[in-house]
């Protein structure tokens, strides 16, 4: 049997040239990084990026159609170069996927050539630019002459081109502001991480109330020597409720009473209170060996010390439940004074005046007593372009699935 052996870098097919080009681009990018003392790539904002988008489209179509027979253009839109650039993108992404992408991380050559911010560095940008040309020419090659059988290819490639181009060029117009909000106060400014400064927003936000709903408090046995919580026999996170039985080896615990919110007055038993001023309490009975003890345990809160039961060398503690839901009741006020009331919640952003406002965080140390709520305001004018690309990819993807199944059923 004659094996059909083709070399990866067979001359005349363009692999060698493709690989060389990718290497040169990465090296050139690093040289630019070094020469510009690590400033990275600054994508120009609107309208220059819009013009660049248009120029790219024109180049792709004009050159792709008129010079399609030209050897260089054919190679530029070919798979050998595409594969070389995919490898280069993957290689750079691997660096970015291993090293922490933080300007504070690393020093010397590593940060000088931008390995701690790979995706905003010149090598990545240069590879992306040629990749977009490659993708564009590849697309045009299949577009003319038009064939129905090429639709899947065209949707996928055009979608990828539009999404990547939109995302890269649009990144200059993307604004993300962290907006600190305090209960009972109005805020007009947000912190821009890119500019590293507070900037004025075209509207203001008034925080009426910030609230956290928590899961039930958790019972834990803490080992101060190992500095960790010990797994119980049922290997479950124990949400406290009356009647809960649990054991750690020969230590047996029963929850007698559970109080969702309470306060301590003097040295007596806790008394129920409202959610705002209280902490959870649990009355537990612990048996170990011949010994038995009963008592109230609770986590720390404002004005309330934490209480635990000492069980041999361990501590039986009650921990505040993790957040189930946190939300901010806010009022947006635009420049003309129009007011809009909204609730901000994780996964449920609110749209106002062309911005999307998110519930981002709060003062985690203060927990449910936090009077600070951090919102995030995002304005991304290029989002429709990127999403258009995503939808094209999905359409192509559906066809790919259908094609694959059809092809396979023939076998």
């Amino acid at each position: 049997m004659q094996q059909q052996q083709k070399k990866f870098f067979e001359t005349g097919r363009g692999y060698k040239e493709g690989a060389l080009t990718a290497c040169i681009l990465v090296a050139a990018g690093w040289i630019i990084e070094l020469a510009s003392s690590g400033k990275g790539v600054a994508v120009p904002g609107w309208p220059v990026n819009g013009v660049l988008f248009a120029i790219l489209v024109v180049i792709v179509f004009l050159v792709g159609i008129l010079l399609r027979k030209h050897e260089l253009v054919a190679w530029l839109g070919g798979i050998p170069l595409g594969l070389s650039l995919i490898s280069a993108l993957a290689g750079l992404s691997i660096v970015g996927g291993i090293l922490p992408q933080d300007p504070e991380y690393g020093s010397g050559l590593l940060s000088d050539i931008g390995l701690n911010r790979v995706f905003a560095s010149w090598p990545f940008a240069l590879v992306c630019i040629l990749f977009l040309l490659n993708l564009g020419f590849g697309f045009v090659k299949k577009l003319v002459p038009f064939k129905v059988s090429n639709i899947q290819f065209m949707l996928f490639h055009a979608g990828f081109w539009v999404a990547v181009t939109g995302a890269l060029l649009g990144s200059a117009d993307l604004q993300r502001l962290a907006i600190p909000l305090y209960e009972g106060k109005e805020s007009k400014k947000g912190y821009d991480r890119v500019l590293d400064s507070m900037v004025e927003m075209p509207f203001s936000v008034y925080l009426h109330d910030f609230a956290i709903e928590e899961y039930a408090p958790i019972l834990g046995l803490y080992d101060p020597v190992q500095e960790k919580f010990l797994p119980n026999a049922s290997r479950a996170i124990l949400e406290v409720s009356p009647g809960l039985h649990v054991s750690w080896g020969d230590i047996e615990v029963e929850v007698l009473e559970a109080m969702p919110h309470g306060t301590l007055q003097g040295s007596g038993d806790p008394v129920p209170s409202d959610s705002a001023s209280g902490v959870p309490f649990a009355k537990v009975r612990v048996k170990y060996g011949e010994k038995e003890q009963t008592g109230w345990i609770n986590p720390q809160g404002p004005g309330t010390e934490s209480n635990y039961l000492a069980v041999e060398q361990f501590a039986l503690v009650l921990l505040t439940g993790t957040p189930k839901r946190f939300s901010s009741e806010v009022m947006f006020i635009d420049k003309s004074g129009n007011k809009t009331i909204a609730t901000l919640e994780v996964n449920k952003p609110f749209e106002f005046a062309g911005w999307k406002i998110y519930q981002a965080g709060y003062d985690e140390k203060a927990g449910k007593w936090s009077s600070l709520s951090v919102a995030e305001g995002v304005k991304d004018p290029w989002l429709p372009v990127v999403y258009a690309g995503f939808y094209l990819i999905m359409a192509g993807n559906l066809m790919f699935f259908w094609q694959g199944m059809k092809k396979s059923s023939k076998k």
């Binding site: 993307l174 899961y215 290997r235 949400e239 996964n347």
Partner: protein, 266 residues
Amino acid sequence: MTWNEFPIVASVAFACWGGGSVLNLFSAKKQALKVPSHLLMGFGCAVMVAFLVLFWQAIERPPLRTLGETRLWYATMIPLVGFLVEYRWKITWLKFYCMALAAFFLCINLFYPDILDKTLMPALQSVWFVPHVIVYMIGYVFLAAASAAAWHNIYLDYRSQSSERNEAVGHYLAVLGFVFLTFGLLFGAFWAKEAWGHYWTWDPKETWAFIAWLSYLGYLHLHTEKVGKRKLQWYLGLTFFVLLISWFGVNYLPSAQNSVHSYQVS
């Protein structure tokens, strides 16, 4: 039904897959064993499906948050791909690899048991949670099967027994896997926009998902270019390791300290 009952469930699944496989091997000589063998192997998956349903009910949230939970899905679905391949392309060997992989994933859960935790942090409470994760799981399952097929093809090639039909199956599985990987990536982007404010932030998990996607994109183009068969099978077999990094290896990398994709109980 929770992790407490899992060892029993896993044992039943092992017994079904193991017993079914033995019967299936003997069925080459004794046709009458064929149907019982398939029923037994299928029952192994049915047990896993039932466990997933009851587990979902017991923890009152989709069991898709921890790696241990996702391994349950993986172990349930991958033998089904093996059965699908047998049903559609009459290739019988793949299902054994698939059941072995499923058993391997259940073993990891047995040796490193999860702590049962019903909570679901606010970021995960989204309509995108189930579609994003399940689509990815299906993608991983297809690509694991594609990788198993590739390794088997390498072995067959080594013994000069390679066949176009076997190679075609590996390719179809890779195509199907890529389709689901792409949907997973895009669903993740849509979700990230709703939850974190931006569709793409080069979070380590995103970066590795992108690298894995690029790797399979590379495979598809190499296939189009009709690269040597042997090299292609090696590529397909090895690419799965990139996917494994994206799946859980990323948690062990220096970059992971900044990841927002960490939902594991500490």
